[in-house]
Structure formats: C-alpha cells, structure tokens
C-alpha cells in the first residue's frame, strides 16, 4: 500500500513539474505577436474559420510561400468570444500581423488608433504595393468605404462579403400556381408570394416566409425599400460609417407599412422571430420562403433536400435594386513591423486564396471581385437548379453598382439596437402605432448620435 502511495505521489509530482516547465517554457508552436515582435519573413494570420477552412487556407498559403518565400503562420481562433480575445491581445500588445475582423470591431479599434492604415498600399503609393496587383477599383461597391475611418484612413481590407435574399421552395410555388421569383422581382411581389404561400404546407400552416436574419424587418432593411423606390436612405453615407443623423421619409414609411401589414396578417414572421428550426424546416419542405444570407446555402447543399429550391435577391423597387454592402475584413495592428510582407499575404488571400478555398468549401463571396470566382464556381458545382440559382443571385448582388450598408457602425450602435428592440419592433409587429413609434425611434437614435 505504501509502495502504491509512493508511486502515485511520484507520478503526481512529475506531472506538476512537467506542468510547471511547460507553463514557463516557450516550446510548442511559436508564439503569436508578429505585430509587436514578429517581422522578417514570417507573417502571423489569425482566422475564425472552421477547421476545414483553415486547412484549405494552409494549402493555398503554402503555394504563396513557395512563390514569395514569405512564411505564413496561420492560427485558428474560436469565434466564440472573439472580440474578448482581440481586446486581450490589444491590452497585451500581442495582436497578430493580420487577423479577421468584423466591420464593427474594425471601426472601434481604428478609432482608438490600434490599427494599421492601409491607404498608401491600397492606392499603390507605398513601395512594393503595386506589385501585388490588388486594385481598389475591383472591390464591390461600397465595400472599401465600410473599412474607412471617419478620418478617411483605411483600417481594414474587406474579404468575405455577405449577400441577402430569399430561399424558396420551388415545388411549393408550383403547387400553389405562383410564378417563381426572378432576378428583378419587386417588393410587392415578394409580399404577394408570401401571402399566397401562407398555409401552403398542410401539416404546418405557417407564414409563407420566415426570416432567419433580422435585416429585412429592421430600419436598415426598410431603408432598402425606400431607396429602391426613389426615396432617401435612412442615413448617409451609404456605408453607414460616420453617420450624423437618421431620417425617414414617405417612401420609408410606405415600406414600413408594407412589412407591418404582412406581419400582422401572418404572411411573414415578425421582428422577434428567432428561426431556430427554420433551416431544418426548409430542408424538409415545410417552409415555402426563407429570408437570409447566402451562407445558409451551404447548409442546404450539405443536407441534400429532396425538393427543388432556389435563391432570389433582395427585391427591386420602381427605380432601383440596391444590394447589401457588408463584409468582414483583414486588420493589422498599428505597430506592424512588416507591412509589405503582410500586404502581400492579404493580397494573395483576396486575389487567389479564397478562390482556392471557397471553390472547395463555398461559404461567402469576396469583396474583391476577382477573388469570388472560386466561390461562384463552387456554388454552381453543387449542382442542379439550386446551385445555378445561388450563383446567379450572389453574382448579381456583388456586381451591383448600387449598394447600401446593413448595420450602424458607431459607438452609439448598441444603444440604437436596444431602441430598435424596444421601440421599432413592437411598432412593426403591429402592437403599437407605426408613425409615432418610428418618430420616437428616430428621435432616440439621433440623440445617441449627437451624444456620442
């Protein structure tokens, strides 16, 4: 018994010593910190991508290394609490050379002076910049503006873009004798289709359209209706960076009323709808129309639904058909030691890397339009009318010259979001009078903007 105790005690002591040595040591993978301490021919890149995406990025970046001699250390960071992690890296001055960032995170860090200004590289003026071939003119409409600070500095380089539209069950449309959505269908047609298809599934008897993403019924979503029909946008500039005030006009109120009426009659789901089971229901043929982003398509392709389905773009109005301007980006710390090498990595990823990766795992098109060919080919290769439909809609939206931002990007954005939940949503859901509550919402948001 004593011998056993001795063995256990010895093993425990060895484990503690090992833990102590490993805790203190610098073994294992090399530490991140390229922005503060890296340099030379190694660039550290942090991504929140899935395991599959990271492996694809590694493959394409190894080709980049062979061409340029620049080694890229790619690190996967979980997306859960990503912002907390970046904040910790800012505090400890260990931001990597380049990392994925959301637009809101980029705006926040950029305004605090933590990010590198890529303006001279994007314009080709910095030494060696033009050799990479990344040209500002080839980015989708509005995407570069999303990543400019209020002072005009470019604090990020857009990468993955999002498009929005309506996934539809073609079999249910045919059964209900409703024509399929087209590339330039209109807002009234979308609402009419939702009405016609409400209760179309006998076992389900639900709304004709479910919204799994809140954009459509948000103030920013209604802004699309307004500009499509010759009215003013909710705020300017169109990128929603550096907004000074929000405003609503007659066309905006018309759009809000159209959606409110549809929600009240149960043709589309309301602004508080969470849609936790919507994807599964659509795959199983129980939901005629689903409003959401193109990334949902990958779930539908993986699930191989038995029905015929397609993807239609955001509807058109009487004068225009605006597309969403929304993308993630590459950001770098302000004390970046090797900007040229980092710029080469960013350029490679935007121009070639995503083409390789997203041809094999199509998630999102790229704001740099030549970098989207891989994604579009990948989506089309999923096969059938569905693949072609998603490809056509995404291609249409990313090439659209008219684009509008989809989310507020200021320090007041969180408060505006809370006010949307408390004031706007009940009005759009039909529980409160529309005009007075929209006016109340506008007043509240303008006070946040002024006070920020």
């Amino acid at each position: 018994m004593r011998r056993i105790k001795g063995v256990v005690a010895g093993a425990a002591g060895a484990l503690m010593a090992l833990g102590g040595l490993t805790a203190c040591g610098s073994g294992g993978s090399s530490a991140v910190g390229g922005g503060a301490s890296g340099g030379g021919n190694t660039v550290t890149l942090v991504s929140w991508g899935t395991n599959e995406q990271i492996n694809l990025f590694k493959t394409t970046l190894s080709q980049f290394t062979q061409k340029t001699g620049i080694h890229v250390n790619i690190i996967q960071q979980p997306s859960n609490e990503y912002v907390q992690k970046v904040d910790a890296e800012v505090l400890s001055k260990t931001l990597p050379d380049v990392f994925w960032c959301q637009n809101s995170l980029e705006q926040e860090l950029g305004s605090q002076g933590h990010l590198y200004n890529w303006s001279s590289y994007m314009s080709g003026k910095a030494k060696g910049a033009s050799s990479t071939g990344l040209a500002a003119s080839k980015f989708s409409a509005g995407s570069l503006d999303l990543y400019r600070g209020a002072n005009g500095a470019l604090y990020g380089v857009p990468n993955e873009s999002n498009t929005y539209g309506v996934f539809y069950n073609a079999d249910l449309f045919k059964k209900a004798h409703v024509p399929l959505p087209t590339a330039h269908w209109t807002w009234p047609q979308m609402i009419a289709d939702a009405k016609a298809l409400t209760g179309a599934v006998s076992a389900h008897k639900g709304p004709g359209m479910q919204t799994v993403w809140s954009l459509l019924e948000s103030p920013n979503g209604v802004s699309f209706y307004s500009v499509d029909n010759g009215g003013k946008p909710l705020a300017e500039p169109s990128s929603l960076v550096g907004v000074k005030k929000v405003q609503v006009g007659p066309k905006f109120m018309q759009g809000a009323a159209l959606l409110r009426n549809a929600i009240k009659h149960g043709w589309i789901t309301g602004p508080t709808f969470t849609g936790n089971t919507t994807e599964a229901e659509f795959i199983n043929g129980q939901v005629p129309m689903v409003f959401g982003g193109q990334w949902i398509a990958s779930d539908f392709f993986n699930a191989k639904p038995k029905m015929h389905w397609g993807y239609a773009p955001l509807p058109a109005g009487t004068t225009a058909q605006y597309a969403p301007a929304e993308s993630n980006g590459f950001c770098s710390p302000s004390n970046l030691k090797n900007p040229l090498a980092t710029w080469k990595v960013i350029s490679w990823m935007d121009a070639h890397g995503f083409n390789y990766a997203y041809r094999r795992d199509p998630i999102a098109p790229i704001a740099y339009l030549p970098g989207s060919s891989g994604y579009l080919a990948g989506v089309k290769a999923q096969g059938g009318a569905a693949g072609a439909s998603v490809e056509a809609t995404v291609r249409q939206e990313i090439n659209d010259k008219d684009a509008l931002g989809t989310m507020f990007l200021g320090s007041w954005a969180t408060k505006a979001g809370n006010t949307t939940t408390g004031v706007w949503n009940p009005a759009l859901a039909g529980n409160k009078p529309l005009a007075p509550y929209v006016s109340k919402w506008v007043k509240a948001v303008n006070s946040f903007i002024t006070g920020s």
Binding site: G19, P78, E89, L91, E279, N284, Q286, D299, A303
Partner: protein
C-alpha cells in the same frame, strides 16, 4: 355516571395516522419509481441525443421530425471529428493544466481552512469574513485586473495564468474546509500535541486522512472548473499547440458573422470524448462526494 363517561354524544379524539401508513405501499413505491424515472429520463435523454447526433451523417442531422436512430451509423465521426482539432494534443494539455490546478486549489484551500479553524492568530475572523465575502464577487469582475497583472509580467501565451491562481486558494473551498475542520473534535489535536506533533504534522497525518470526503469533493469541483474553463485559455493562450480542449471544441462552432451550421456530428463525437474524464472521476469518487457535501452541517458536540 356522566354522559361523557358513557360516551354518549361525544366522539373520541382521532389518533393521527402517519402518511406512510395511510398511503398503500404499492402506490408509494410506484410514485417513487415514476419520479425517479422522470428525473433519469430528463438527465439521460440529452446524453443519448448527443450519441445519436454523433453517429449521424451530414445529411441526416437536420431531419424533421428528428429521428433518434440514424439511417446509417457513421462510427468514423469519432475518429474524424477529434482529428480535426488535434484532440490528443489538446487532451494532454488539458490534463496537465487541470491536474496541476486541482492539486494547487485543494492543497492551498485545505491549508487555509485548517489555519482558520485551528490556529489562533490576530485577524483570524477578519480573514474568514474576507474569504466568505470573496465567494460573492463574480469572477468576471476580476478578469481585467488579473489580465493586466499577467500581461505586465510577460506571461502571455503560457500556462502560468491558468495554473497559478489556483495555488492562492479558492474562497468557496476555504469556507468548506474551515467548516469541515470545525466538526473534527479538538481532542484529536490535543492528544497529538501532547505527543509532540507540530501543527503541520497534525494537519498532514491526522486531518487530511480524517477529511477525505472534503478534499475529494474539492478535487471533483476543482477538476470540473478547470476542465471546462474557456475564457482564461482564450485570453492567455495564442499558440494552437498550447490550447486546451475547451478552445478546441469551440472551433467547431463556425464563423463569427454568419450563421453557418456547425458540423454537429463531429462536434458531438468530440464532446462525448471530452466529457469522459470528469464523468469517470465523478463515478469513482461519488461516494466521497456525497459524504463530503452531507457532512458539512455536522458540528462538534
């Protein structure tokens, strides 16, 4: 004779029959088993559902209505899923951090609890109240100051921030230990002191064996807290080679601004393997865990 004595018009007082005698044994037994079954089902169904998802193929996951049994059993998910996150390496990392942290937490808390209950020194009560107060301080509040401390010491990307704090005691464990030690008769200390034992000798040779349920309970709780810790490894670790399993599991959850569905089959398969060590620990030590929690209310009479 009075009417009362003859029993006319007055009912005799009823004797209260205990509930156990009023309700037939069969009914009571059936009710008890029904309740236990309901609780067991509530606990076990999510676990069984995890196994079901882990064995499904990609196109089988989002079925509606959901089916419990997969159409085809994909056992390779238990290999391919963990392989995606380099499970063996992360497992070893997590075991090292957890075991060392657990040892640190239990040792420091036992020592502090013993000192608070057995040693006389100035400010003993104040310390006890401070520790008790610290139980109610949410850990999230202390994240930023502790972060700054470790970053200032240059300990970013090491395991030290994950392990070192445990060696400074856990307020809850110190409270539990102090309460437990109070229940041990002082006569034990006194007779050991008469034999020439020091306080540390008494602690090591007498108190530790006597309080086995206590420190096993602490070990189970400390193990679970460290095994499941996500935020600290996220903040302090930058190199994937040093990540823990909690970070590895989080990488299944898809990208940030899109709602891409995670690969649930791989995720559940890896999660089941992730759950095994704390489950095994609890199964082997549950007797002491129950004893540890149950003994807390005892006092030395």
């Amino acid at each position: 004779m009075s009417a009362v004595a003859l029993g006319h018009g007055i009912r005799p007082a009823r004797r209260r029959v205990p509930l156990a005698h009023r309700v037939p044994v069969t009914v009571s037994r059936i009710s008890w088993y029904a309740l236990c079954t309901l609780l067991a089902v509530t606990m076990l169904v999510p676990l069984l559902w995890m196994v079901s998802i882990a064995l499904k193929s990609n196109d089988n996951i989002l079925q509606l209505p959901p089916k419990f049994f997969p159409t085809s059993y994909v056992w390779s998910n238990f290999v391919n899923g963990p392989a995606q996150i380099h499970f063996p390496r992360l497992f070893v990392n997590t075991v090292i951090i957890t075991v060392v942290s657990t040892a640190g937490a239990v040792t420091s808390s036992m020592l502090a609890g013993y000192a608070l209950s057995r040693l006389e020194f100035k400010g003993r009560k104040v310390f006890f109240y401070l520790f008790t107060f610290a139980i109610f301080v949410p850990s999230i509040v202390t994240i930023i100051p502790i972060e700054r401390l470790f970053f200032g010491m240059g300990l970013i990307n090491t395991w030290i921030p994950l392990i070192l704090p445990s060696f400074f005691g856990n307020p809850l464990f110190i409270f539990l230990a102090r309460q437990f030690f109070i229940s041990v008769p002082h006569s034990i200390d006194e007779s050991a002191m008469m034999d020439g034992a020091s306080s540390f000798r008494i602690f090591r040779s007498l108190m530790v064996p006597l309080t086995k349920p206590l420190w096993i309970t602490m070990a189970i709780l400390a193990f679970q807290m460290s095994w499941n810790d996500y935020l600290s490894p996220l903040i302090y670790l930058n190199s994937p080679g040093r990540y823990t399993l909690s970070l590895g599991m989080a990488t299944f959850m898809g990208t940030l601004t899109s709602g891409t569905t995670p690969q649930y089959n791989y995720y559940m398969a890896s999660n089941l393997l992730y759950m095994i060590p704390p489950l095994l620990l609890f199964f082997f030590a549950q007797r002491y865990f129950m004893m540890g929690l149950g003994s807390l209310g005892l006092t030395n009479k």
